[in-house]
């Protein structure tokens, strides 16, 4: 029990705050290596520390980190909890980071199990703990399997089969070197096959964002200088769709003003107006604030004024949004056109007075996210962190093979990473290794004395 485990201990996407919890010897070191404000290895026990989670130089999120040293913790091991700003993307990213830095994804019920095994929970409670482990893991196991729809399971099974075919082929080359009917797996052959597997996994991961869209919608941020008409656009969109105007304050950073529904998908409209207009030093910090919003949203709608020439700030904003999925809405097209824009930009023109261009805007969003083609039953989505982490892990092992092929590492060693990828996908669909390989070997190849 010396390894350090990590898991998200809040329901994903539900609360405004998510907590990533780590337990074990390396918990503090691991978080310290991705935390930039102070040295967590030196802070007092049971303290809360403010700072940023960083990936190399890049700031991922502003967080509060609780450091609790053993033995006065739930598991009687060192525990670190990272309180971050909810949101699937950020939470997943942080979990991935701690895993990259040496933590292992916790099994269902594992924190409780450690609490017991380390003597935190009294012996009298033992039976109920074992009940708990039983029920949690059974439930989780079912969830893990049922959480994947049939199609996704099939897609993963197919990828896994491809990997197993390769492994079996390599094994036959090794165990029956004189058997000439099996293709000799060479570096080139392996490269071709592994590249295909890599593409399959990448597709799965890119579909993962679709899964996220179905579950929690698209975060759309409206940005632009004051008085370009952001709020009126927001209101026009909402009025027309009779959406409920909510007032959920999410984080200190974003204010989700309203939700509307497009083709069954939730669009979370994030208006930056509130932040901007209460601020006196608009020109200065305006761009900085917008940058943060640009980073966290899925889609940026940059609003510009048709009736004015581009200001320096506009130009900077245009530059900023180019790195993200964006639409530029040129408002006030009922007035004289003074604006000059590069025609490579993704532009829609309209005005809120005559409610002109708003349909086009919605249509654009539908097109950009294929919302008319999303059918929950049909597509293959990965929808939770566990799934995404496992697929990413598999992809990493596969990528390592491609690197090592270039180094001329012998095939039987490259197979170690093939097995890794195979195992990870197996965990995802609830299938174990057991006799699969040996069965495959003798089913596919005609071997013997």
């Amino acid at each position: 029990m010396e390894d350090t485990i990590a898991a998200i201990s809040t329901s994903l996407g539900v609360g405004a705050i998510s907590i990533i919890r780590l337990s074990g010897k390396e918990a503090i070191n691991i978080v310290n290596s991705i935390f930039n404000q102070k040295d967590l290895t030196k802070v007092k026990t049971h303290t809360i520390n403010y700072g940023f989670i960083i990936d190399n130089e890049e700031e991922i999120d502003e967080v509060l980190v609780s450091v609790m040293r053993k033995p006065k913790t739930f598991t009687m091991e060192d525990i670190v909890e990272i309180n971050c700003h909810g949101g699937i993307a950020t939470t997943t990213k942080i979990l991935e980071l701690v895993i990259d830095h040496g933590a292992r994804l916790a099994e269902p019920g594992e924190f409780t199990k450690r609490a017991f095994l380390n003597g935190r929970i009294s012996l009298l409670e033992a039976e109920s703990v074992s009940d708990l482990i039983e029920s949690v893991s059974e439930k989780q196991r079912k969830l893990a399997i049922n959480g994947l729809n049939g199609r996704l399971t099939n897609v993963i099974k197919k990828i896994r089969d491809k990997i197993l075919d390769l492994i079996a082929n390599i094994e036959v080359n090794i165990d029956y070197p004189e058997y000439e009917d099996a293709i000799e797996v060479t570096h080139n052959y392996l490269k071709e096959k592994v590249n295909k597997i890599k593409k399959d996994l990448e597709l799965l991961l890119s579909n993962a964002s679709v899964g996220k869209i179905i579950k929690s919608g698209i975060d759309v941020a409206l940005i632009g200088r004051p008085n370009v008409g952001k709020s009126s656009i927001l209101n026009a969109l909402l009025n027309e769709d009779k959406a409920i105007v909510t007032d959920i304050s999410g984080t200190t950073r974003d204010i989700i003003e309203a939700k509307m529904v497009l083709n069954g998908i939730t669009i979370n409209l994030i208006d930056t107006a509130g932040i901007r207009e209460t601020s006196d030093i608009v020109e200065k910090i305006g761009v900085d604030k917008s940058k943060q919003i640009i980073n966290s949203a899925d889609l940026i709608i940059l609003v510009l004024n048709n009736n004015e020439e581009l200001t320096e700030e506009d130009k900077e904003l245009i530059n900023e949004v180019q790195e993200k999925t964006n639409i530029i809405f040129v408002n006030k097209n009922d007035l004289k056109t003074k604006i000059k824009l590069d025609n490579k930009l993704n532009v829609i023109k309209g005005n809120t007075k005559e409610l002109n261009g708003l349909e086009d805007l919605k249509q654009k969003i539908i097109e950009m996210y294929n919302l008319d083609k999303i059918n929950e039953k049909d597509l293959t989505y990965l929808s939770n962190v566990r799934q995404i982490t496992l697929v990413k892990g598999a992809l990493e092992s596969i990528t390592k093979i491609l690197k090592d092929i270039e180094k001329n590492i012998p095939i039987d060693m490259l197979e170690i990473n093939l097995r890794d990828a195979f195992d990870k996908l197996g965990i995802l669909i609830g299938e174990t290794y057991e006799y699969e390989l040996i069965d495959k070997l003798f089913k596919n190849f005609c071997l013997g004395k």
Partner: protein
């Protein structure tokens, strides 16, 4: 008469068991039906092969005989997979079916404390679940403190060809009619297994001009760590490759219902890895031809083995089949192929020491445990012999782990998973095979052998010298630096290698994938044997993979350390799934690690078990 240890059966398991027990100072009796069939090779005329070759190395490192006898008795030797990675290389030799048994018998007869007796054993004497002795077919009783059964395929064996079924073992030897029934009465679960062997052909009736030759290697090899090669490369014999054809396939398909297997005359379960030719043709219909290897059985008689042509067809069909093969059109079959079925015990009834769970001081090894292959048998015999001896001295059993030897993998698989078909070792069964290599058998096992007392002091010294050489080379590579001069610059350039900094230690250079020991040797003389260079290169070049494997092993070992008390009552553990409870009850694993490898015991069950152990035994 009273013996410390009696070994029943003189096959590969029996020979190793008897030898090592006697070597360990136990007064030992080896009973065989026929002294001339000691270490008999009733099937293929070869020792070693993929994974199996490493088993032979491991047996040798532990003080067994197989490698040394093979070195004295072969007429061809090859390193398989020599072009692949270092982890999967394995030796195989064509062993002479006359000289191998003779050389083994010589070694056994020269072993102190060992008596060999010809007899047939029909029953065992048990008192209070403890072994006391054996009863021979003439009712003679011989008493012992410990018994090792290595009866091979001789328990109630039937030889099958078509609808003809003969009672008896290979070579028409008598079978033991009652021993397996008597074991059943004592509570053993008996299973019926099946295997087979191909026809043998008179060499002078083969047209070798139509067959393509297969040669031995041009490098000298030995299985043993202690021997120098005694053969000459140029004296090695050829084997030949031929193929089946449409005509062969048609004959088989036309006569399928006449084969013992397809005619329904066999009840035993055959191994998938060694299917009969009729199996191959039925299961792989679209294959136009199958490879067959012609291998001489001995230099002392005129008989060749057709590897890949095992069948249970009647004799007349076998004649047609053989005559359809190119080069064998007019050949004479000297011994027809047959299938053999026999009784074996369920290996789940064994402890990892190979002592049975039911009867104290009763050990079993080899085919009786459901395995196949000379090497697998010898390995178990060795371990049973060691552990039977240790038990008499009240010492802890010697159990190899999965990361230490293929022998560990073999026995762990047998006693944890059982087997439904004769079990053959494959490299794919070993998850840590990167560490279980041909080249490092002594590094993995000789220290154990020394502690166990299974090798001579001379053998141990050998090993220590070898180890010292390895360390010397490592030190040499760390301290020797490459000084770049014009000539060396040119050499790197010619090979398209990027030039290193001046005075880079050799060890750093070797870490680069493109730079080999030979390449460095051309610039700086590295005064060490090639075998030493190989081992050290592997360690340096594949360090990343080795470290990764070692991490996996660490995890596994932590689970192995968590012992399960022998008296645990699984019925008392609430919440265990019933399948898991049944399996745990039956297999009674010695550690959490072993428990986690049982199929049908899932991670939730393991958690519950761990919690229970903590509660009941305060066990970490």
């Amino acid at each position: 008469m009273n013996y410390d240890i009696i070994v029943v059966g003189g096959g590969h398991a029996g020979c190793e068991a008897a030898h090592i027990a006697a070597f360990l100072g136990k007064k030992t009796l080896l009973i065989t039906m026929n002294k001339n069939n000691i270490a008999d090779m009733p099937c293929n005329p070869s020792i070693g092969g993929t994974a199996k070759g490493v088993i032979v190395r491991d047996i040798d490192a532990l003080g067994g005989l197989m490698g040394k006898v093979a070195d004295e008795s072969h007429f061809q030797i090859k390193m398989l997979n020599s072009k692949k990675g270092p982890a999967v290389r394995s030796l195989r030799c064509q062993a002479d079916k006359i000289t191998y048994p003779q050389n083994m018998l010589k070694k056994l007869e020269a072993t102190n404390n060992l008596t060999i007796k010809e007899a047939l054993v029909e029953d065992i004497i048990v008192k209070d679940n403890k072994i006391k002795g054996i009863i021979l077919s003439n009712q003679e009783k011989i008493m012992c403190n410990s018994l090792i059964l290595t009866t091979g395929t001789y328990l109630k064996s039937n030889i099958l060809r078509g609808d003809v079924s003969l009672e008896g073992g290979p070579h028409g030897e008598k079978r033991s009619n009652f021993l397996s029934d008597n074991l059943k009465k004592l509570g053993f679960t008996i299973q019926r297994l099946k295997t087979g062997t191909p026809p043998r052909i008179k060499a002078s009736s083969i047209d070798f001009t139509k067959c393509s030759p297969e040669y031995g290697d041009n490098i000298y090899y030995t299985f043993s760590h202690d021997d120098e090669p005694i053969y000459k490369i140029e004296d090695q014999q050829k084997c030949y490759l031929i193929y089946t054809n449409n005509k062969t396939h048609q004959i088989i398909l036309d006569n399928l219902d006449k084969s013992s297997m397809y005619g329904g005359y066999v009840t035993g379960v055959g191994p998938r890895y060694c299917p009969s030719i009729e199996d191959k043709i039925v299961r792989f219909k679209d294959k136009e031809r199958h490879q067959l290897f012609l291998e001489p059985e001995s230099m002392y008689y005129d008989e060749w083995y057709i590897q890949g042509f095992s069948t249970s067809m009647p004799e007349d069909v076998q004649d047609q089949m053989v005559h359809s093969l190119e080069g064998l059109e007019t050949s004479i079959i000297t011994k027809y192929a047959y299938a053999i079925e026999y009784d074996a015990i369920d290996p789940l009834q064994l402890n990892p020491s190979l002592e049975t769970k039911i009867i104290e001081n009763l050990f079993t090894a080899g085919q009786i445990n459901g395995t196949s292959g000379y090497e697998e048998a010898a390995a178990q015999g060795l371990i049973a012999g060691i552990n039977a001896s240790r038990k008499l001295e009240e010492k802890e059993p010697f159990i190899l782990k999965r990361n230490e030897s293929y022998i560990g993998v073999l026995i762990d698989d047998l006693v944890t998973k059982g087997t439904q078909e004769p079990y053959r070792m494959l490299t794919s069964r070993a998850e840590y095979r990167l560490l279980l290599r041909h080249d490092n058998a002594d590094l993995r096992l000789r220290e154990y052998a020394h502690t166990l007392g299974t090798i001579t002091s001379e053998m141990y010294e050998n090993y220590q010298n070898h180890l010292a050489e390895i360390n010397n080379l490592k030190e040499f590579l760390k301290t020797t630096k490459l000084e770049i001069n014009l000539e060396i610059k040119e050499k790197f350039k010619n090979n398209d290698f990027s030039l290193p900094l001046n005075k880079t230690p050799l060890i750093e250079l070797l870490k680069r994938p493109e730079i080999t020991m030979e390449f460095l040797d051309e610039m700086i003389n590295i005064p060490f044997d090639n075998s030493i260079k190989d081992i050290v290169s592997i360690d340096i070049k594949y360090e990343g993979y080795i470290v990764k494997t070692k991490k996996e092993i660490e995890k596994m070992l932590k689970l192995e350390e968590k012992q399960i008390p022998k008296d645990i009552d699984y019925k008392k553990i609430k919440n265990l799934a019933s399948e898991a409870r049944d399996k745990l009850e039956r297999i009674r694993p010695i550690s959490i690690g072993q428990a986690s490898r049982i199929s049908g015991v899932n991670p939730a069950d393991i958690s519950i078990l761990a919690v229970y152990l903590k509660k009941e035994y305060n066990n970490d």
